[in-house]
Structures are given as C-alpha cells and as structure tokens.
Amino acid sequence: MTMTTDPEVAEAAEDRPPAPRPVPEHRKRRRTPMTWIRGGGLSNLAFVAPMLVVFAVFSWGPIVQAVVMSFQKTNLVSPPVFVGIDNFVRVLSDPNLGTAVLNTLYFALLALLFGFPLPLLLAVMMSEVGRGKGLYSALAYLPVVIPPVVAVLLWKVFYNASPDGVFNTILGWVGIPPQPWLQSSATVMPSLVLEATWAAAGGAIIIYLAALIAVPPELYDAAEVDGAGIWRKIWHVTLPQLRGVLFIMLILQVIATSQVFLEPFLFTGGGPNNATLTILLLIYRYAFQNSLGGAYGEATALSLMLAIFLALLSWAYFKLTERWSTN
C-alpha cells in the first residue's frame, strides 16, 4: 500500500529528526511511517478498518471460499479434499436438476407475464389521476410492507382448497368452481406467482411513478403539436422515455425470480410431486436437508453455476439493449 502525503506535510516533515526506521527512499519524496501518520494515515485506517474487517470476513472471504469449495469435498468432520470437477459432475447428473431448472424458468416466465406489465400499467394510470396519487401509492405499497413470511403464511390460508376457502369463496360469487390452488401440480406454480406478484408490485410501481415524473412535459407538448392522440403519446413518448428504467427492471426481475426461494419453501416445500422444486430449493436441500451430512461442495457448485449463468445473461442482455438504446 503506498503512503503518500500532501506536499506541505512532507515538507514539514523534512525538518524533523529522522523517524526511527525510515522506509527506503522511493522516487524523490521521503516516506516514513511518521509522515504517513501525519498525513492522516492512522485516522484514515480507523475509518476504513471496520468496513475492511466486515467485508473481508463476511463478503470477500466467502466469495473466494465459494469458488474453492466448489472444487472440494467438505463435510466439517474431515479436512476438505480437492476433488476437481466432481461436484459439478454430480450436480449436473442429478435427475432433480432438470426439474428444478424447468420449474424456475416457469416461475420466472409467469412472473414476467403477470408481474412485469401490471405495475407499469398501474403506475401510468396513477400518474394521470392527479388527486389521490398519494393515497394510491400508499395502498399499492402496503403489501411490500407486510413481512414476506407473514404474507406467504396468510396466502396459504387464502389458498385453502376447500369450497369455503377464502379465494374459493370469492370464485364462488362469480360462479367459478373451487380450485385446488397449492394442492395440484397444475395450479401450484401460478398460485405462487400470484402471491409473489402481489407482494412485489408496489415497489415497482413507486419506481415507475418516480420515472414518470421525470418525463419532460415538453415532449408531450411537442407530440400534441404533431397531432398525436393519447395512445400515440403513451407509445411514442412515455414508453421510450421509460425505456432505461424498464430495461433495468426487467433484468433485475429475471435475476430475482431465478433465485426464488421463500414462496416454494414456505408454501409447498417443493411439492406437490416436485412441481415447485426450484434451483435455490435444490441448493438448500444439498446443503441443509441432507441426511448424509451437508453436501456443501455440491451446493456451492450449483450456486456458482447459477451465478455464472446470470452474469452471462445480464452481460448479453446489456450488450443487446445497448444496441437498441443507441439506435
């Protein structure tokens, strides 16, 4: 680590008796521990130290360890053994992996279909109503405030499959027969997505509302001069102006939904019949629900593969959207 000081401070140090152990001269400036301290090195370190320790132990360290562990057999009892790519091979040949990947894709796709356009639509409507916007955004944000665990457990009650269940009662009012919700592998995933969309929409709405305020009003004026109606203004002004935030929200949503854990874990535990076994649930099972002791190597190998896939996906996505944005 280089220890440089302000010129003034260094000059002042010239007049002092030499420090106990001068550091060998480097270039022309003399640097000694004393000049480093006088330049504020110690207090700098005092402010950096807490962050350095916490990040080294709880962030940078574990990230490096994840890479190392994916090539090791680790089980807390015997010392870790290097096993090459065994962990990756074992994960890739696990018959559950295909199910987990397909389920995760299905969840992400459904969440994209329901969860992506809905907040945008609501935000555009809310930004146009003028009065009442504050109330509407507070109402829309309420589900985000409910702790996710409470939300899932509450919806589990809503999804009661008996004809007297909360949702089935509502369906009954409009003449739709009771649905099995979480009980059948056909309806379980849409049920999970419905709750997840409800829980997350408020956050996206607030972000879109902020972006909508930033659209320059002159653009609408100009579009009207050119004779554009309401729909053309939305299509040619609003949406292009939101393009940046929409692109980001899309990839963030994909990254988030591909790591879905809470809903399948608490609603169904992966059932029925593995219909909601997601990648993260599989990682959790490897590491923490293994009767043979934690398969930590396999768990980190799978999480690394997921991370690398997401990194590549985001990179390709940004390359692609960059070209669209510049056109």
């Binding site: 916490v54 507070a138 457990l153 305020i213 935030v245």
Partner: protein, 296 residues
C-alpha cells in the same frame, strides 16, 4: 418525491376537457380505488378480522363478520402461550443490531471513501462495488461455514445475533448510497472546519453526520425492513427457538397452533411494520424511489 406533481403527464388540459376522456378517467379512478383497496388493504383487513374470529367461523364463512361473536382471547393466547412476546423482542433485537452495524459501516466507509480518500480508496471502492454483482445465494454456504468457524475468534457464532448483524453490515448498497450522498456535500465546509482545527473524527461526527440525516433515514429504513423481513439466514444461524425472530418462528409454530390463534400471531407480527410505514410513509416511498434511481 412521489408526492410532487409533474407539470403535466400524458393527458393535456385539452384532453381532460373531452367528455370521453373525463368519463374514462372517472373509470380509472374507480378502478384504482377499488382495485388497490381490495389488493392492498383487503388482505390486512381480513387478517385483522380473522385474528379475533373463532377458527370454525373463519373456516366455514371466511367473509362473515363474526357470526358467533368476537374472540379477543386469540390475541392474548398468541401473545402469551405461543410466546409471540418473546419472538417479538428477538425480532426487535435483531433489527436494532442490524440497523446499528449497517449505519456504522456505511457511514465510516462512506466517509473514508468520499471525504478522507486515502490513496487506496479506489481499490476499496471497486472491491465493494464488485460484491453488488454477486448473487446472495453464492455466499449462503461459505458464509454459513464462516459463522460456524469464524477466523481469529475461534468460537462459533451460531445462535448469537452477531451471526445476523455482522453479515448484514457487509452491505455494498448502503455504502454506495451513503458515499454518493457524501460526494455531493460541499467540500468548503470540511475545509473550513479543518482550518478551525477540527480533526477527521470531529468533522465526521459534528459536520458530515448532521448534514446527512436524509440518507441516514433512508439507510435506516432499508436496514430495519430488511432485518424484519429476513427469513432464510436467521433460520440457518439461529437454530435455537428461544432466540429466533418472528419470521423464523411463525412457520415453525404453524403446525402445532390452532388457526385462529395463528392468524392472531400473524396479525400482531404485521402490526409494527404497517404502523411504521404509516408513520414514515414519505421516507419509505422516497427510499423505494431512490432504490430505483440507483438501479436506473
């Protein structure tokens, strides 16, 4: 931020005068009001009702308003017999510590990276930012093993709140937010304080922090909410039920608890975050919008 009205939106004043537009705006109003009340407030109201309704009524007539009377005892049973009081305290303790350590790390690191700026600051900054790109799932297992066997200390942090607080403090997003805010503070004030003989600690405590209340509020909201919401991590590192927060305890007690009491427990657990939100609405919504601004 969200309460301000833009000068105008898609609709012009001329548009708003047209009869068809006025009619559809009334429809939009009605749709938003009904839809958002049903979706946003509805589940909470139902939960509040069900919390004081006997199990049989909730099961057979979920939308009937107390056909057989109100059962206030549910709340008491949940609070005392399921020990919601204990888990409630645990949750507050988890959130308070996470809040404290996140603020401590974010402000000291932000100050060092933005104001003090030692030579190595760019490297640190890059290393911190890099962690934003690592999905949390990668850290899950190695972080768990770190908690079991942390360096230097030599004793497991399992079943201690340090295991929740310290990893929460390693939050790059907070540092990014705080550093950006500090970057925008006027340098002249720091220089003036320095000429008056204030050392770096004095500048930090008496000048930078008081000037940064808005961002400290946002980081505080993020920290408390995240701690209140967290489930998987406390589940892993706090296996002893006596120390677990609500989010971990609620799913665990579900199977041995009668539905009405369980719903009362859910209602109590929802109360504090909802009240906090209603009190600090502007701060919450600003925070949510800010999250978007940083993402965007």
């Amino acid at each position: 931020m969200t309460d301000e009205l833009a000068d105008r939106g898609v609709l012009s004043t001329a548009d708003r005068r047209r009869g068809s537009v006025r009619a559809s705006m009334t429809l939009v109003h009605g749709f938003l009001l009904v839809g958002l009340v049903v979706a946003g407030l509805g589940p909470l109201l139902w939960l509040a009702k069900a919390a004081v309704t006997p199990t049989q009524d909730t099961l057979s007539q979920p939308f009937a308003l107390w056909p057989n009377g109100i059962d206030w005892a549910n709340l008491e049973t949940a609070w005392n017999d399921i020990h919601i009081d204990q888990y409630f305290l645990n949750t507050i303790w988890v959130a308070a510590g996470a809040w404290f350590f996140q603020l401590l790390i974010a402000t000291t690191a932000g100050y060092a990276l933005s104001v003090l700026r030692p030579k190595y600051a760019p490297i640190l900054n890059a290393l911190v930012l890099a962690t934003l790109f690592i999905p949390a799932v990668v850290l899950l297992v190695p972080l768990y093993l770190t908690i079991l066997d942390p360096p230097v200390i030599g004793t497991s942090l399992l079943n201690t709140y340090w295991a929740v607080w310290l990893p929460a403090a390693a939050n790059a997003f907070n540092i990014l937010l705080v550093k950006r805010f500090f970057d925008a503070l006027p340098r002249e004030v720091f220089e003036a304080a320095k000429t008056d003989g204030a050392g770096p600690f004095r500048v930090f405590w008496s000048i930078v922090l008081p000037m940064s209340k808005p961002i400290l509020g946002v980081v505080s909201v993020f920290a408390v909410i995240a701690a209140w919401k967290d489930f998987l991590w406390p589940l892993l590192v706090l296996p002893d039920p006596a120390g677990q927060p609500l989010s971990v305890r609620l799913p665990a007690v579900q199977s041995q608890t009668e539905l009405d009491v369980f719903l009362a427990a859910l209602a109590i657990s929802t109360l504090i975050p909802v009240v906090l939100f209603l009190l600090f609405q502007r701060l919450f919504l600003r925070g949510a919008g800010l999250g978007g601004a940083v993402k965007g």
